[in-house]
Subunit: 371 residues, 3 copies
Amino acid sequence: MVLNLKGLGKIEIGLLDYLLIFVPVAVYLELTHGSGTYIFAASAISIIPLAAIMGKATEHLTEKLGPGLGGFLNATFGNAAELIIAIIAIKEGMFSVVKASITGSIIGNILLVLGLSFLAGGLKQKSLKFNATAANLNSTMLILSTSGLVVPAVIHSLLKNQSITNAAIDGLNNTISLAIAIVLFTTYVFSLVFSLKSHKHLYGAADEEAEGHKGAEGWSTGKSLSVLLAATVGISFMSEFLVKSLESATKSLGMNEVFVGVIVVALVGNAAEHSTAIFMALKNKMDVSVSIAIGSSSQVAMFLAPIMVFLSYFIGPAPMDLSFTALETLSIVFSVLLVNFISADGQTHWMEGVQLLALYVILGIAYFFIY
Amino acid sequence: MVLNLKGLGKIEIGLLDYLLIFVPVAVYLELTHGSGTYIFAASAISIIPLAAIMGKATEHLTEKLGPGLGGFLNATFGNAAELIIAIIAIKEGMFSVVKASITGSIIGNILLVLGLSFLAGGLKQKSLKFNATAANLNSTMLILSTSGLVVPAVIHSLLKNQSITNAAIDGLNNTISLAIAIVLFTTYVFSLVFSLKSHKHLYGAADEEAEGHKGAEGWSTGKSLSVLLAATVGISFMSEFLVKSLESATKSLGMNEVFVGVIVVALVGNAAEHSTAIFMALKNKMDVSVSIAIGSSSQVAMFLAPIMVFLSYFIGPAPMDLSFTALETLSIVFSVLLVNFISADGQTHWMEGVQLLALYVILGIAYFFIY
Amino acid sequence: MVLNLKGLGKIEIGLLDYLLIFVPVAVYLELTHGSGTYIFAASAISIIPLAAIMGKATEHLTEKLGPGLGGFLNATFGNAAELIIAIIAIKEGMFSVVKASITGSIIGNILLVLGLSFLAGGLKQKSLKFNATAANLNSTMLILSTSGLVVPAVIHSLLKNQSITNAAIDGLNNTISLAIAIVLFTTYVFSLVFSLKSHKHLYGAADEEAEGHKGAEGWSTGKSLSVLLAATVGISFMSEFLVKSLESATKSLGMNEVFVGVIVVALVGNAAEHSTAIFMALKNKMDVSVSIAIGSSSQVAMFLAPIMVFLSYFIGPAPMDLSFTALETLSIVFSVLLVNFISADGQTHWMEGVQLLALYVILGIAYFFIY
């Protein structure tokens, strides 16, 4: 992302660009059948600059196409890296990794991104203010959408206590998850109508700010599309390497798949949004930071998660359900409650950042030991 | 209810009145030993206009008797349909249906009624405002009263893990539920003192509005009492038919009792309040809608639920406890948290309505498959 | 504590001073091998005036030493009674009593102290106002710190379902609890920097008020230290008697250890703060009451609980973990959510006090029957 930060922006971009060197490194390691851990590390790192480039291209495209189609594009390609990783993992039937990355995206955005944003902004300014109305809009949307995600987990735990066969439980789980995915996705379509048509004035201020950092030089639609295509191909390959090396890497590092999904995969897949949110916080544009962090979490719950369920019917070895683990469910509930309380008053400071990060570390410890 | 809606109100009343035809239909089907499903449907529908008539009579009576006795009457007869259905079900020992209807009343008022009210009001006006102070008063009351309801479920699940006999567990459950019912009921009595005596000015605005729709022509106390008596008798019979046909109806429709209790019985028993709340929303009197929806839920938790426990000692085959299922407990917790977040800022729009309804549909799906 | 309440203050101190008679009573009973129940009662009562004296000495010391060192002293000795009781219990390996007293301190402060404060203040004045910003600061801190306490319980329940040995489960529990204790304690250190250095202006108003009740006559540092030492020695002995007689007392009274820990030990250990909060409410200084009640709860979660885990490694027969029971976990979650909703609007009345007390009674009933 091009940031007008008097040199700092350019250094940042430079650093991200250098990371592209890991693309050929990952390819070389894969072709020479190198160690799974190194392939995992190289492909994970290489997705970060690719996701940033894809984000930049999408933003230029959105500028040209206007808010209607642009909003849809943004929602789709803004999460493209996550979606591509998920598609590869669904193909391989690694559903627990897919669900862990959904959880990780939700709590990572709320706890890690918002925490770092509050800390970064709070170290520069004593008191940080943001638009409480817009933040409440987003965080109420979030609490409603995540409650949809929590229901299948509850149902799953109740089903296990009933005297029916495992096959019957799996069937019911899938039926319920599909039904809930349809409800969540329909709600998401309504929310697009709400934010892009009927109530777009409520989102106006944040959009305007966000547009400010896109840089003056617009790209042509052709250039944007070519870059988008190239980045998509790059991410696809790197994700394939990432997912395939995940098992051997986690084993040799002594970590479990859920931890890797919640912490590592979610971090990599959301790297572009993360850096934007934190840079906006450093520029004291807390509205944009809060809107990116909370908005991305809602989008994962109402758009990405249902899409992944639908896709599993076409490309997966079996349908994927939405029954998260107890720890995942609780992580989501806690994080969502927290962000609602914190965003209610429209002001924050560095200590709230420390506390959000503390909870992220605590949950990270939990995922490290539990699977 | 007579609504001064320039014709619309009279049409509404007319439609409800036509539904009275289902009273003789239900009686006929019962006498001719008709299909349980049809008896269930006919008696369920016939309760709706009867509850509306009872509501009208209670309101006229409240006007005559003043806020003190009137408030008590309103609380009792405003929920009379629910109470009568519950009494019949308690007599039959159908405790899971009784508890399901308590859950259904709480979440139905918060999710369905408030959701429809926000949607109906929001489609007419871009932004809906209501008195945040009054709404917070009600919703804090709700969170406190429902936490009382949640404790017995937790205790029940803990007791199951202890090495004591089932009879001992049942005994403890009943003791704890009775103790909690007494605490909740005592709190309810204090809340009547609070809202009718010490702090009635806080409820003033909403009351004034609510009185506005009662119509100019007051009924005499005699007329009100006769109508009240007639409606009570009608509802009693219809409820008896409803409860007795419930088992065969649910079987032939492939539904479970808890789903019917949470969704169908709760809908029927609360039909009168539901229609009032939505009509008030259409007239942009959101204060009244919010107060009816949240207030009714509190009343169910603090007044109806304890009364049902007390009654079970006198008319039931055994004492009823308050240990709800895990899904019921979670539904209540989620719905109550939601309404607190939504009502905090005193403004809403159609999208919040869509989201509340989405959660209602998601929970409905869960209850349909789980029992 | 010396309260300028026109006579009332002196009566209060007088009453507390009379309770010191229970110190020799407890010693006499212990030496003559008296009944455990009487020793328990006498030592419990005797801790109340000792804790009040210790609180007074700490406050005088804080005045002399300034906010930096003073703040740390206040945090340590303000909870000294609780800490001493916990140390004795940890030595004896009575971990469930220690954890129960942590739970009891958190919910006791939020439900009992805040409930009594709202009730006491609300009976004198119709509407009570307090600084919503300061209250939100404290209650957000509380929600974040208690979520750290809840995670180990979730992990513990998940571990029980895994096919590993009990010894391995205990080991993991201890590792995770220690890691989380370190995170919580680090966060606490940051919060001291926040409240005593970087953002002390936010806490200014409440401090000023709180200082108002310290009385005009300052003590010399020497006198404060001597009194502090004497009270510490007194509490240490009384706590030893309390903890050692706890088992036989609970048995003969038919109560379980967790109930005694949550209700009795927590009440005794916090008696000093409790009385201050309620007296401040009577003087309509709700800011101080709310700050004491919510602040003490945060301190227990972020400071006392981690310290107890650390101490168990040095003085306990085994390391103590932080996995609370399901009922404890839920009590904390509910109480913390409640206080967040109630403190959000910065105003209250007697009915909210009644409701908080009602929840305290309901939870008390639960603890009485469940263990």
